[in-house]
């Protein structure tokens, strides 16, 4: 169902206003926005032009020997100096670009021509084709490329076509592997099944879907491999197993530079710099191409980060300047403050989010909620309502780009808002703790369960390893894990979903916190498992008396477990009542609509009530009105 917000809020790219109906148009426009790619592309174009026009551009014939001007440093006559046979370095450099581009291009084409069909065959057919074929490919990839190159040259000789073939062979395994991966992914996609159900023949489907999906990766891989091909070609020329030495190549020039290092250091720089720039250009371009084609620019909210920090500081200053007397907080909170019994008291909490255009918007608005000792309070809302953000605000774990704009969060009487991370990490685990939605990812996969379970015990309770392990076994048994002692040394993937969540609960409760925050803790579980985990939480609450903040989108969970519940919509808490009242006499229109729309509530005949159209407009209107009132204040 609906997912809770992820740890980091990724901001989508602002639209440039125009809609490109063709994919190509979209790709080009994305690339145009990346300066690095543009520069790289320009350089490549420049190089290609130089290579094409070499006879025109180069001042001398590259093989022309000037025996009177041997090993001369750069001068007006020879702009980059001369080598040991008096040949002009600049001209050799220019002609060298021809070889470089030619060999690299040829190698990439050969690599693709060999690799892609192989990958198609392996991926399509599967079975023995795939098994044996991939063994070959793995082997080829494991061997050093240079080895393959050397072998080919040793057997077949040294000319430009063989060189292309050698380097192409090295790269073929990359293309084969990549193609096969794409085929496998596409084969398993749901729309292949859907198309098959529609009657389309399987081969046609896969071919029709795969080829367009292949173009992108092939081009990207090709671009990146071009860079590698140039490196390999240069290395082979340097080593003397590339092209015959009369043909000017950058690698051969460097070999000469090495030999004459002591007397002619100027020979070292031009070919090396040429190689570096060319390889860099191709790899930057390839990366840019890749980003543009996959459309994935994980634009991390650096912008938001700085804004968030600044705003957070401002809010903190504002909070401390107002005298905050300990004790009861008066306000418009509809919940009853339980005084000494209160574990968590939040008042007018607002969380702001930094937008790409440097503005901010509030994703949680003036939320007030209390949790008393031994009380299970539900926070009910659909996706995007702000419920998880609220939980993170309480934990002090707001994602980057968001911050606590205002409000007070008191845990056992102590103010938590705007506290330093260092202080908060002491509070967490000992006074409050949390379990999250996906149990299989909630634990580190490469550490044993015992290690993670004993972490809070050793950190907060000062236990040594033996004591912690003993206590951990007790905890595991308490949450219903059989064979607890043996299981301590198991890894998370050896547990089923429900069991893993129990372990997570045990870890959260290990240091005896007074508040447990369960953020969609059972949403990813099967029905029967969910019931077990919820019953466990109820049992633990009965035994230890902690307060629980149960965040969920499910009315059923609220009905079964909560003593009180708050309903959240568009960042606001619109209703907060004891659970029986909430279900029997809901006050807010949204709550009523939610209850009506619940299929489990529905009459067995007739249509389901849905929240759409006029009803949605009405609900939104109520919220908008509240927003307007507050802004006016």
């Amino acid at each position: 169902m609906s997912e809770t917000t992820t740890t980091a809020i990724t901001l989508s790219e602002p639209d440039d206003g125009r809609r490109h109906t063709t994919n190509l148009g979209r790709i080009v426009s994305r690339m145009r926005r990346q300066p690095g790619t543009i520069v790289a592309g320009a350089f490549i174009l420049f190089l290609a032009t130089v290579a094409l026009l070499a006879p025109v551009v180069a001042p001398y014939d590259p093989t022309q020997v000037f025996l009177d001007n041997v090993l001369e440093p750069p001068s007006a006559q020879f702009l980059l100096g001369t080598d040991d046979l008096g040949r002009d370095q600049l001209s050799r450099l220019i002609y060298g670009s021809q070889i470089v581009l030619l060999v690299a291009l040829g190698a990439v084409i050969i690599a693709a021509v060999i690799g892609v069909p192989l990958g198609l065959v392996f991926g399509f057919n599967g079975g023995w084709w795939d098994r044996i074929g991939m063994r070959f490919v793995d082997m080829a990839q494991a061997l050093p490329g240079m080895l393959i190159g050397i072998t080919v040259v040793a057997i077949l000789g040294r000319n430009i076509v063989i060189l292309m073939f050698a380097i192409g062979l090295i790269g073929a395994s990359l293309f084969a592997r990549m193609t096969r991966a794409v085929v496998l992914v596409e084969r398993n996609k749901l729309y292949v099944e859907a198309a098959e159900v529609a009657g389309l023949p399987r081969r046609q489907i896969i071919f029709g879907q795969i080829l367009p999906n292949l173009v992108g990766p092939i081009v990207t891989q090709g671009s990146v491999f071009l860079g590698s091909a140039i490196m390999i070609e240069s290395a082979m020329s340097f080593l003397g197993i590339g092209l015959p030495s009369e043909i000017p190549t950058w690698g051969a020039m460097l070999s000469l530079a090495l030999d004459n290092q002591a007397v002619a250091p100027h020979l070292t720089w031009p070919p090396g710099i040429a190689i570096v720039l060319t390889v860099l250009a191709f790899s930057v371009f390839g990366d840019g191409l890749n980003d543009a084609l996959t459309g994935e620019r994980k634009r991390l909210p650096r912008l938001g980060l700085r804004l968030a920090q600044a705003e957070e500081e401002r809010a903190a200053r504002a909070a401390t300047s107002v005298s905050t007397a300990p004790g009861a907080v008066t306000g418009t909170a509809t919940a009853v403050v339980h005084g000494d019994d209160a574990v968590l008291v939040t008042h007018d909490v607002s969380v702001a989010l930094a937008m790409p255009d440097r503005s901010q918007t509030r994703i949680v608005k003036n939320a007030s909620l209390t949790v008393a000792k031994g009380e299970i309070v539900g926070l009910l809302g659909e996706s995007g309502s702000g419920k998880s953000t609220f939980a993170r605000a309480v934990l002090g774990m707001l994602p980057p780009g968001t911050w606590l704009a205002s409000g007070s969060i008191r845990l056992l009487g102590e103010e938590l808002a705007h506290r330093q991370e260092r202080e908060l990490s002491h509070v967490r685990g000992t006074r409050m703790a949390a379990v999250f939605q996906d149990p299989m990812n909630a634990l580190s996969p490469v550490h044993t369960v015992g290690m993670q379970l004993t972490e809070p015990l050793r950190l907060h309770k000062g236990m040594n390893r033996t004591q912690a392990r003993t206590r951990a076994v007790e905890l595991l048994e308490r949450v219903g894990v059989r064979n607890a002692l043996a299981r301590l040394d198991d890894y998370p993937h050896q547990f089923s979903g429900g069991m893993a969540q129990r372990v997570a609960i045990a870890m959260a409760l290990a240091a005896d916190p007074e508040l447990l925050i369960a953020d969609e803790a059972t949403s990813a579980l099967d029905v029967t498992t969910q019931a077990q985990v919820l019953d466990l939480i109820l049992d633990l609450r009965d035994e230890y008396g902690m307060g629980v903040l149960m965040i969920t989108h499910s009315l059923g969970v609220v009905a079964e477990t909560c003593d009180r519940a708050a309903v959240m919509y568009r960042g606001r808490i619109v209703e907060d009542s004891p659970v029986a009242t909430l279900f029997s006499e809901p006050r807010h229109l949204y709550t009523r609509s939610l209850l009506d729309a619940n299929p489990a509530n529905a009459e067995t005949s007739g249509r389901l009530v849905t929240i759409d159209g006029d009803l949605r407009v009405e609900i939104d209107g109520l919220i908008d009105q509240l927003d307007a009132e507050e802004d006016a204040r």
């Binding site: 240069s234 090495l258 720039l277 634990l443 550490h447």
Partner: protein, 314 residues
């Protein structure tokens, strides 16, 4: 654990068989006759036939195949056409130099790469991240032999701090050995460092945004401990998985670094044999190097299994 080793060994056997067979057929792929290629200008039908007989190239396929495998089991990887010495012996002689070089390169790569990756990956999008990523990108475009030449130029030729001819066997002079390894290791290691840095950075960023980071933080584990204890180990998994490839690439790169620093290693031997048409050495050498690579990958696989419990065969 033992099961893991045996399993991987079992996988390696068919690979080795296939490889050795391919290598054997190499001489059959030479256009014309290998003997003709060796003799070059001096080739005429009689001398070719004589050389072929001398080298045993005129015998039937299966006879040579059996002889080949029999030889392999004995440890006979062929005999050099040029020097007449066993290929295995030639390689054993040169192995220490190459191994020293690769070990040095790996050390530089791992230390530098991990550091850069952690610096960048723990704060993705920050300035230090972009700086280290830029550094990696540029480093990957620098040919290792060019770095070597420049280092040699600056530190050996012009400053005289390091010797120009670097290799000193460990047995002869440990200090000299280490000193001689410094420049070549840096030359070889920078490219590898960039590769490792890139992977570490991605792995760190991924592991730091994983759900278990939330779980641990929510229980009060301080951030530094979460990063170093939990995040790093998770990040190492994909990095280690690709170390085999890194070593393989480094082996190839070592050939040119050996040339720059005049290291008497395997690369130099192979190159000499290629230009000198010493097919026996090339053939035997390819097989030997391939075996080495397979062995190294085996060790890495086992370590990977140690690190990542999910990949162990159940």
């Amino acid at each position: 654990m033992l099961k893991l080793i045996l399993y991987r060994l079992a996988l390696a056997v068919p690979q080795l068989l296939l490889l050795s067979f391919l290598v054997f057929t190499l001489t059959y792929m030479v256009p014309g006759s290998p003997a003709a290629a060796i003799l070059g200008v001096a080739a005429n039908p009689e001398s070719i036939a004589r050389l072929e007989q001398q080298l045993g190239l005129d015998r039937p396929f299966f006879e040579r195949l059996i002889e080949y495998y029999a030889g392999l089991f004995r440890g006979d990887f062929g005999t050099s056409f040029v020097s007449g010495r066993p290929v295995l012996e030639l390689f054993a002689e040169r192995l220490p130099a190459t191994v020293s070089l690769i070990a040095g390169g790996l050390l530089v790569s791992i230390v530098l790469g991990l550091a850069l990756g952690i610096i960048g990956g723990t704060k993705p999008g920050s300035f230090r991240d972009r700086a280290s990523t830029a550094f990696s990108s540029v480093s990957m475009s620098l040919p290792e032999f060019w770095i070597g030449i420049i280092l040699l130029l600056i530190f050996a030729v012009q400053l005289g701090v390091f010797p120009v001819v670097s290799y000193v066997p460990f047995a002869v002079d440990p200090i000299g050995w280490m000193r001689g390894l410094i420049l070549p290791s840096i030359a070889l290691g920078i490219g590898g460092a960039a590769l490792i840095a890139r992977q570490t950075r991605t792995a760190m960023a991924v592991s730091m945004s994983s759900r278990y980071v939330d779980s641990l933080t929510a229980v009060g584990v301080p951030r530094q401990r979460v990063v170093l204890r939990y995040g790093l180990k998770n990040a190492l998994v994909p990095v280690l998985a690709s170390t085999g490839l890194t070593i393989s690439i480094m082996l190839g790169a070592s050939f040119s670094v050996e040339k720059v620093f005049a290291f008497p290693g395997i690369g130099a031997l192979m190159l000499r044999s290629v230009t000198g048409k010493d097919f026996a050495v090339v053939q035997g050498g390819v097989l030997l190097i391939a075996i080495m690579v397979i062995l190294v990958n085996l060790i890495l696989d086992v370590s990977y299994g140690l690190l990542n419990p999910k990949s162990r065969p159940s």
